[in-house]
């Protein structure tokens, strides 16, 4: 369903709400406009009340969300919580919904059908209607959906100012407990893929801003882009944008035909690894203008800094990929590089 026209309309919508104001504040009008287009539920099957379309369609929308620093829980509502609900045979709600990996919900337990404990760094919990988590119950993964109305929510934010709240339950009654059909690893990989794609989008914007600024800003009688030392930063950014963009897109394509564990791990690793050099290069090329609230650069660089660690940082993914490489061994190493998850 997400043909190019829809993506163009989506980009226009996102652009029309830029800048989105304080990222901590709920952007009700923007959510309403996005929801009317069905954007949060792209990639969630229609049978479950979703918008239909493929995972790749949903990720194309997310890439635009990254490129426009959209302050909404789009990944959480659709690809994460929405698909978990659909996989468990439930319908998706029409309100914003959030989700965390099992790693952030380790302290959550189900006792006698009631939910107890604390979930950490829950995106947009303060504005979401429900939290959807995967919990291992008696050796099987259960999808648990719980209304957030009765939860104790402590408002916290990530480096970008996006809500990442602490949510405590004391005997909340879930509205759904059902066999998940997926496991914690599936959710972790989908989460990492959403972040890699958001980051690829944000990097494009950082790169565009830097190319434009260094062409327009003049010092010593010439454009900054004419100085070799500045060109070095710009080229670094172009290379990073190209390589992370390709990595994320390759993972998306492979995910359409399988679990794409190798590609997702590599894409998130590369995206996370690129953050510090890219953020440094972009800010250095912008000079003092780039570190103001007024200039848009920080909206993207701060998100990159925050998303670097969400759903696994570069070291965690490197350890996983390294383990996979050691398993195939020296003779299988190049075939793994060349074929990835199709190896």
């Amino acid at each position: 369903m997400t043909d190019n026209t829809l993506l163009e309309v989506t980009a226009e919508l996102f652009a029309s709400f830029e800048p989105g104001g304080d990222p901590c504040e709920w952007q009700g009008a923007m959510w309403k406009a996005a929801a009317e287009m069905g954007l949060p539920w792209v990639g969630v099957p229609e049978e479950a009340g979703g918008q239909g379309g493929s995972i790749a369609d949903a990720l194309a929308v997310l890439k635009l969300a990254g490129a426009h620093a959209v302050p909404l829980p789009l990944a959480e509502t659709g690809l994460l919580a929405g698909r978990l609900l659909a996989a468990a045979g439930a319908d998706v709600p029409t309100e914003p919904t959030t989700c965390v990996t099992s790693g952030k919900a380790e302290e959550l337990v189900l006792r006698d059908g009631r939910l107890h404990g604390v979930a950490q760094q829950v995106p947009w919990a303060r504005s979401a209607s429900r939290l959807v988590v995967l919990l291992p119950v008696d050796g099987t993964w259960q999808t648990v959906s719980v209304p957030l109305g009765s939860a104790r929510i402590t408002a916290l934010t990530n480096l970008a100012g996006e809500p990442r709240d602490t949510v405590a339950f004391d005997g909340a009654i879930p509205e759904l407990i059902a066999e998940a059909g997926v496991d914690g690893e599936d959710l972790l990989h989908m989460g990492a893929l959403t972040r890699a794609v958001l980051m690829a989008g944000a990097l494009e914007r950082v790169c565009e801003l830097t190319v434009r600024y260094t062409e327009e800003r003049r010092q010593f009688g010439r454009a900054l882009a004419r100085f070799q030392a500045v060109q070095h930063h710009v080229v670094d950014l172009v290379q990073t944008t190209a390589s992370v963009g390709l990595a994320a897109e390759s993972a998306v394509r492979r995910r359409l035909g399988g679990s794409a564990r190798f590609e997702i791990a590599a894409a998130k690793l590369l995206a996370s690894q690129s953050v510090h050099p890219a953020v440094r290069a972009a800010h250095q090329a912008h000079g003092a203008m780039g570190v103001t609230q007024e200039y848009p650069l920080h909206r993207f660089t701060r998100r990159l800094l925050a998303w670097r660690t969400e759903y696994g940082d570069e070291r965690q993914w490197a350890a996983r990929l390294g383990t996979a490489a050691a398993e195939v061994g020296a003779d299988g190493l190049y075939p793994l590089i060349a074929s990835g998850s199709h190896n």
Partner: protein, 388 residues
């Protein structure tokens, strides 16, 4: 918003087709049979030794001159198919040096700019893996600033007399021919008035002096040309068009797997050492391995985009420069990471293959980001591609 095409959009995922994967299998089988691991000393990418016998065997399989027309003995295969063959050869450490330059760029350039007679004379021998070519671009006073070359060709009866000095000419002592860039006239723009000549490296007036590499090996040379006669029928392309011809050659030279595989075998051998228990089972090793595998996967994908772009007839000079700079920098970075991890004092003549590869790579590494155009020039090519 700027409306110029965005450079990073040139990189989109590519899946190999069934025939391409089949070719990959064939090359792997060929190498496992012809050069079983442990029976030969693997080399580092395109620095590998020259073995004319191996080049001829490869050619007999149709894997030299793959990009050239069938009527000259070539395979009329795509740049992607050539990519598949070369990446397997390089990661295996196969001795590819004899046919390397002829296959990668001299053949394609002769095919593109040469006369019918030149094509018939050179291309079949290139496709048989027989002819070795050198690149006669750099000079003592012309490195990155290639348009400033001083080697000069003067008109004489039936041809030209070429005088000057070329340097960093890989393989000149063993190769047969060299494509020499020289000045044929003085023009207002120094990029005009340049021409390319096919020079027989054994012709009278050609003197090849080795330039020992810093590790003492001698694979590149100084080529001194003193009034070397080059007949009219060995002028390559149009007189005065040498600059344009040279720059078109660079996309073949810059975007391929030879720009990111030079140190691959060090990592593969590191893993083999670990399997054999000769290295402690260090979690840092797994991290290094994971990072390296991700980067190779990514660089390979980018490089494959350049090959597909060439097949589609698109200009790839800028994407190729972008990949070359990243790839060669990574070749060095991954090596540094291995050095830090293993904390050895590797000896070039150690009994351990891993140590020998490590030592050879460490000494070769400074040249990765120089040969084929320095990183600084690559960045400036990318920058011009962004702003022009």
């Amino acid at each position: 918003m700027s409306t110029r095409p965005v450079l990073w959009k040139a990189f989109a995922p590519i899946e190999l087709g069934e025939a391409e994967r089949d070719l990959q299998r064939q090359v792997r089988e060929f190498l496992a049979r012809e050069l079983p691991r442990g029976t030969f000393e693997p080399g580092l990418g395109m620095n590998n030794p020259a073995d004319p016998e191996f080049s001829r065997k490869l050619a007999a399989r149709g894997w030299v001159g793959m990009a050239l027309p069938k009527r000259y003995g070539g395979g009329e295969r795509t740049a992607v198919e050539r990519f598949i063959v070369t990446e397997e050869l390089l990661r295996w450490g196969a001795p590819v040096n004899h046919h390397w330059v002829a296959d990668r760029q001299s053949g394609p350039v002769i095919n593109r700019f040469g006369t019918e007679q030149q094509k018939e004379r050179f291309l079949p021998a290139i496709c048989r893996g027989e002819l070795g070519f050198s690149i006669g671009m750099s000079e003592p006073d012309s490195g990155s600033d290639l348009a400033s070359v001083k080697t000069r060709a003067r008109r004489t009866d039936g041809g030209w007399l070429v005088t000057g000095t070329k340097v960093w000419t890989t393989g000149a002592h063993r190769n047969d021919w060299c494509i020499v860039l020289c000045r044929t006239s003085d023009e207002a723009d120094k990029r005009d008035g340049l021409s390319q000549f096919l020079v027989d490296l054994r012709a009278p007036g050609v003197q090849v002096n080795p330039i020992p590499f810093l590790d003492g090996s001698a694979d590149f040379s100084e080529v001194v040309l003193s009034e070397v006669f080059v007949a009219d029928d060995l002028v390559l392309g149009k007189v005065g068009q040498g600059w344009a011809q040279c720059t078109s050659e660079l996309a073949y030279e810059r975007g391929g797997p030879d720009r990111w595989l030079s140190t691959y075998l060090v990592v593969e051998q590191l893993l083999r050492e670990r399997e054999q228990g000769s290295l402690p089972d260090d979690p840092e090793l797994l991290t290094l391995l994971g990072e390296a595998v991700a980067r190779w996967w990514n660089l390979r994908g980018m490089s494959l985009c350049v090959a597909r772009g060439l097949d589609a007839g698109e200009e790839q000079a800028v994407p190729a420069a972008l990949v070359k700079e990243m790839g060669t920098r990574f070749e060095q970075d991954v090596l540094t990471a291995v050095e830090r991890l293993v904390a050895l004092s590797p000896s070039p003549d150690s009994s351990s293959l891993f140590e020998r590869l490590l030592a050879a790579s460490i000494l070769a590494a400074p040249s990765f980001t120089l040969r084929g155009g320095t990183s600084e020039i690559m960045r400036s090519v990318v920058m011009k591609g962004l702003t022009s």
